[in-house]
Symmetry: D2
Subunit: 173 residues, 4 copies
């Protein structure tokens, strides 16, 4: 992996509770401080909060939209990819991440977790905000992969686990 | 809906148990007898079995491949759509179905169930063969839809429920 | 190639002159009589005419739509693939054809000719109806392929050249 | 248009002459100095040269790859979008640009010019390096748009015309 362009995809609902949004903003800031580019689906809710947190912390943000019109991205995305693919953009969104962070999440987010699983991407799930992040934290999506969705009880644990993954397993090797 | 071109997408693993394959073949035959075109992902396992069952019963079969090369479709697909989209073809696969039938299923199948849910497609789940079909039978994937994945204990119940859906709710109206 | 599922993609404008539409209908009928499944973009104009000609001659027809909604296909498509990909469906449309037939054509059709060229598909161009079919008949799109777009002065020449390609080079080998 | 995120897509062959590569590098630098993010297809040749020119001038660069593997991008792309769409990524690549710059170009580039035309994007063609840029400079791709591909004899004219478009027509309004 080219250390100067590590990318993480943050996934979660376009409609989320205030506590989940606050966490997503903190996740964006954590990634920015680690020098990781933050990719999201470019819309509201978790996507916007993660982008805002990253942008305000000086990080680079990318929004991979389902639409053809880039003006529909939230204003915190520095780069906009208007795919025009509809929900098939969920697959592109996941391919963009060297690892994935999931907060809450309904059916759309779950489709992205499935793609991340199939593509052997590390998936970090913040447990505290319900949804499929909580449901699959510490579990497999199927038996084709030996590992599990990485369960993170809180932001501190998330930051620690991402840092470990970045430094021990991938970048320094 | 144009009665002459009702299409159903049958989803499930490319690697499945003999009992599940036998059921998939029967599902294909049921759909063919109802005059419904059978769409699958065009590969092996449940996809091939459903296509075989439909083709042998005189039905029309379509395989929506992730690959660019149509020769990789199973031999029971009369029409082959080599999308070249990788797993993003899961979305196209689901868009092709007026309704969806799921048998067993791991992460790939679950991504398709999510897309079917988001697109408001009726989802009929055969419960007897484990996987995500069983896990979500009778449940919602999230709260954005009021209904549930339609649980079918066996082939007879599946045939009855599909017949009801086709005749009462859609085609005769 | 599996002889029972040879597919040809017919490309051309959704808005075309009556003479071109009549020719497209005849092309559809020719393909149907050869046992070739006719794939188009599923919309009006050349696409609808080719589908109509094929369907009326007893052939199988497939429409690969840019939209998510299958009801937007013309009524002559027996199978509808609502890709939801926007114009990116042009690529899928071309991948579906073992060979390509082009009648007239503006920028959208030209994008499909480019993809057919890149994918090494034989391209048969009916010269009599202007557009990019006429402009590139007998020419290369670039120097990466040694052959040319196959020029056909009229329907008889088209039928002869397709027949030769089907029987001599591909199906009987 | 959000002035802080104007994006231009630079298109041209992955295999190009040294003079064309030098020009592409200069184009990248021009765009970077204008504060415009440079999007390319992420591969070699014109794409790599434009990315290099932009990156060395302090600009932001994005590579929209046909592959699923981000490591295949050239090293000058700060952001990598591994679409996994094959040549269908050409459509996404074009959607990413508020305007398009074309240098030389064969069939792949021409497919992108077609999509840019269909999407009503301004297309600036550098005439001096042959290919479809030269062939269509000052011309229409079809009659559905009243304007033409904007012909630029040299880099100075290109810079002037892009500057005029950015300032007079779009950003200040």
């Amino acid at each position: 992996m080219n250390a100067s362009r590590v990318q993480a995809t943050v996934i979660g609902d376009s409609d989320a509770e205030p506590e989940a949004l606050t966490a997503a903003e903190a996740v964006g800031a954590i990634l920015a401080r680690l020098g990781v580019t933050v990719v999201t689906g470019g819309r509201g809710g978790i996507m916007e909060a993660a982008s805002k947190g990253a942008a305000e912390a000086g990080g680079l943000t990318v929004g991979v939209l389902p639409f053809e019109d880039s003006s529909k991205a939230n204003s915190w995305c520095k780069v906009v990819i208007p795919t025009g693919l509809g929900h098939a953009r969920n697959y592109v969104n996941i391919l963009c991440g060297d690892f994935i962070i999931v907060i809450g999440g309904g059916a759309g987010t779950l489709s992205e977790m499935c793609f991340a699983w199939i593509q052997n991407k590390p998936i970090f799930a913040l447990k505290a905000f319900g949804g499929y992040a909580q449901e699959f934290a510490g579990k497999q999506l199927d038996s084709l992969r030996p590992d599990v969705v990485i369960s993170c009880e809180n932001l501190r644990e998330l930051e620690k686990k991402i840092g470990d993954w970045l430094h021990l397993d991938n970048i320094l090797n």
